[in-house]
Symmetry: C2
Subunit: 602 residues, 2 copies
């Protein structure tokens, strides 16, 4: 089924929540105002709808295939990547110095959402390339940057992240891949990596693997891990491609979803590549033993992008469900107003499902948009104090964007399937693919539990709750505005937002008061805390949206859209924000029962 | 991975919640006491664990295959069905007069759960046969019963339910299949049916299709639908198999899950079967135009059984997750108590996920067990007043068992996958299959919305809330017992159960007070009402379990089990029952926002 980019909603968020015209005051972003945003988003919509979306179901049906170390991607993917490169989409958010367009993340995020809505299995490739670019920008030497960045930013080469090993998943301290210094300053890399997204494929001329490994004699644990660049083809000083490096793809996984994308097992230095000199050649990124530190810097970007994938797949599922609900005629109105069968979109329960999808997607999108704006401000604003505040806000929001948008994507894609009834269970219908694709999102780039650990430790406890309390104060100000506006929708939102904010603050007090004395009790509720915080922060953005929409409605702007925005926000308040007090009770009063059963008693 | 039937939990429910020794006082159930239950369950566990479970993953990997109208089931399925027949499992709950064992549903339900945990794709075949048996027992003439029942009860023939047509899913009023009376008293059946589970297969000698069709000149809508028996092979008066009937399997579906089971498109009377006389021969069941009425009688049985499937697949997912969490070593304790990596079952968030699975499964199982006991009492107790009460209780509970146990199975099988991290997304791990299999359960035999319509209309409004209020009074009595016991677990449960009961009663008042004036508002919250009621009723059974377990613990019986039961009940109270007030708010105060968006505005 076709995909239509939700341009109006995206531009509403960019204009009114992220306040792009304020961002455009920042030096370097002078050309990145609302009109630029609109033009870029419209182009990206054309590309996503016209090029990527038509390949989505096919890629699921004809997944990437491995043979003798090589991977063939689904039909059409090579051509799509060529057009992606031609359009300059890879460089959107990257520095102009390396051929990028240097646009704010506030604009780039919308484009990433579109590409992932259109074709998540495809869009993963550029997403990983973004990660490699971030890593090199963060810590790469000038020499590495000179050789690799332009090619990556153009999209002609792709990037990968080689973290996971069979014994080292969430716990990267257990990485065993070895790096052996060689006389020429490079390293020999030896070891096996698993779950490497686009670890091998036929889309680009070269693949730039970023690899975590341990130099001999390095300290145990996380402080002995270094980061290396390990290209598929060795690269000359002039950027020309040389011999094949000894990186062998030993197979790809048979997965529940994102089947178009190859998930590779890679063997470094195993002497398996025909014609390659045995021993994979790697180049140190930054300093030895600081690999995880660099990873954490870029991880915020990657985690944020996966959060966008959650929004993207939910949006796609929503559009499909709406389309089916409009077309499928079944059942008479429950109020007996007619004896004729009606489209199921007329039935209240179908409306409830669609509204749940719509409200959650819009809430998550709004939260993600504001998170991007915080990033742009933190990176580029001339005011140091504002940069610092924005950085704290951004960092607090990232685990919420990642965790909340992906966990909810499971519920929403499942609801999308439910709207289809029995047809939803038939693969040809296409609704099931979105559920299958979504299912990896709360797992990769750090499971929801890992995001929640980050939220509790780095983002809440470390600053003594300062950031979250500052956010709560802003939410309280929004409540006051809602009460002042006094419309029924605003009053309903104010009431639910207030209860939800208080629930959040209760939980923050619990976390801060308990983390030292009984950390297990805090971590028993860490994921519910994340879900609560995500719920409140997304709800807050819809509360702001409601106020804006009321104002614009009074000005006579785009009545249908503004009315829908107000209705959607009110639905969110009454059906999603209302969950907050229950979550509070579970977290604050139920920590004991989570751990009451000894492991052997399960 | 292996499956171990949760015999201890099942027998706890049967003994203490269903009170099987009281059921065994009922004439006809004299031999069906606790010892019989134990013996039957132990045998069924052996069969499920040893015969059905090992075929489960294989059946998913090698689904049923269609070729030229015939369907070949996965390897091993024919042999498993032969052993199912030999063991007499099909006849467990069916009348001794037709070769069954006449055991109470209270015992039979546990066996159905086991078979479905072990192999849902297989167990669907006997489940549909049960449906055909119920239909014939309900409305079949003596002649039809004589020809078909013994074969079906033995399991040598299987049964199917032919309801759905492309335009007639949830709305059976739209059925178009025609039945033309023939001089010999039989009917010619003409039309296409879709989504027919085990509509064609190679497991049994004959397949007995129960088919909804319209006799020419019948009234429009639901009052013009009749029920017919239409066997794959025609049957002589002596029960011998004759010629092939004109019922053609035109294909089977490519499904998200339950892939072992063929889901057929059947064409009746299309002249497609080689060697068959054109025109499918059907035999009227009961009277013309009363087909839907008969279906509704047996539908409670089928819906109840699908609820058991929800429990079954969640139990299986739970066991797999526990096993993985015990084996997978990753990460150090969050309290810093050790620098060594531990099994992930030591981590609080993994415990939270496993407890969520365990508590919900045990709550749903307890509710299903009590529902079965109500059925047995309603069908067989000599006291007419008690029969009537039990029937009302049973009928109220059926949509909850179906709706709540299957909706929660989506969350639980998804959590089971999450416990596996990245491995969960790899098909070979097996966790994904449970999620895929579960996804049909809230759809077939009536979607959750259809269950919720039933709950609102037939089960709440029709008796003016009498049944649900009577249940609430019993819950209140349980709360008093909990408060009297005064342990911390009992007090916590009493508090949450009381709040949940009040939330439920608020919603009932809303439903009763609004259904006449604004039915759309009621149906906007019908599924949340079902989820709330299921939550409370399952929680109530765990509250009763908690009280029993405390008593037995004082008596020194089975300490580990009783302590775990108490801990699990308390977890349910603090993490699941706590959702009730939020649901109440959504239903009672949020009906307007569900329908605020016009269909064209989505």
């Amino acid at each position: 089924m076709s995909y239509t980019a939700p341009l109006e909603d995206m531009l509403f968020d960019i204009e009114h929540l992220a306040r792009i015209e304020q961002l455009a005051q920042i030096p370097g972003f002078e050309d990145a105002g609302l009109e630029t945003a609109r033009a870029v988003l419209q182009e990206c919509a054309k590309f996503s709808e016209g090029v990527l979306s038509p390949l989505n179901a096919e890629g699921d049906k004809n997944p990437s295939v491995w043979k003798d170390g090589a991977v063939t991607t689904p039909p059409g993917f090579r051509d799509a990547l060529r057009r992606y490169v031609e359009g300059g989409w890879q460089g959107l958010q990257h520095p102009t110095g390396y051929g990028g367009q240097g646009l704010p993340k506030t604009i780039g995020a919308a484009c990433i959402e579109m590409c992932n809505s259109a074709n998540l299995g495809f869009a993963l490739c550029p997403l990983l390339t973004d990660g490699a670019i971030e890593a090199l920008l963060t810590a790469g030497s000038d020499a590495l940057k000179a050789i690799y960045l332009e090619k990556l930013v153009s999209g002609r080469w792709s990037g990968t992240m080689n973290l996971t090993e069979p014994q080292a998943g969430s716990d990267l301290a257990l990485v065993r891949t070895r790096a052996e210094p060689r006389p020429d300053g490079s390293y020999g890399i030896f070891g096996s990596k698993i779950f490497i997204t686009y670890g091998e494929h036929d889309l680009t001329e070269n693949i730039v693997h970023l690899v975590l490994a341990r130099v001999a004699g390095a300290p145990e644990g996380v402080k002995g891990i270094s980061l290396f660049v390990c290209p598929k083809f060795l690269v000359g000083q002039d950027g020309s491609l040389g011999a094949r490096n000894d990186v062998y793809c030993a197979g790809i996984e048979h997965k529940l979803g994102i089947r178009a994308s190859p998930t590779a097992v890679l063997q470094f230095g195993a002497g398996m590549v025909a014609g390659a000199v045995p021993g994979a050649v790697g180049y140190l990124v930054g300093q030895e033993n600081r690999g995880l530190e660099y990873m954490f810097i870029m991880m915020n970007a990657a985690r944020y992008a996966v959060g966008l994938q959650g929004i993207a797949i939910s949006e796609r599922a929503y559009q499909k469900a709406v389309q089916y609900a409009r077309e499928r005629v079944q059942g008479r109105p429950v109020d007996g107003s007619s004896q004729a069968s009606v489209a199921i979109i007329e039935h209240p329960d179908v409306q409830r499902m669609l509204m749940t999808m719509r409200a959650t997607v819009e809430g998550c999108r709004a939260m993600a948009c504001v998170t991007a704006a915080a990033f742009d401000t933190a990176q580029h604003h001339p005011d140091a104090q504002l940069r610092k505040q924005s950085q704290a806000l951004h960092e607090f929001l990232v685990p919420l964007v990642k965790g909340y948008s992906t966990e909810t994507s499971l519920e929403l894609t499942s609801l999308g399937l439910q709207v289809h009834g029995g047809m939803g269970f038939i693969e040809e219908t296409g609704a099931a693919q979105y559920l299958r694709d979504a299912r990896i999102l709360p797992i990769y780039e750090g499971t929801t539990a890992i995001q929640a650990n980050d939220l509790v430790g780095r983002k809440t406890a470390r600053d003594g709750g300062q950031t979250v309390r500052a956010i709560a104060a802003q939410i309280e100000a929004t409540e006051a505005e809602l009460l002042a506006s006094a419309t029924p929708a605003a009053r309903s939102m104010a009431r639910r937002l207030c209860a939800a904010r208080q629930a959040l603050l209760d939980v923050v007090e619990f976390v801060l008061g308990t983390i030292q004395t009984d950390p297990q009790a805090v971590f028993a509720g860490s994921v519910p805390y994340l879900m609560l915080a995500g719920n409140v922060l997304a709800g807050w953005q819809l509360a702001r949206s409601l106020l804006v929409a009321q104002d614009l409605l009074r000005q006579g702007r785009d009545e249908a859209f503004m009315r829908a925005k107000i209705a959607t926000a009110q639905f969110y308040a009454e059906h999603i924000l209302v969950k907050a007090p229950g979550l509070r009770d579970s977290i604050v009063e139920g920590a004991g029962s989570v751990r009451a059963l000894a492991p052997q008693a399960f």
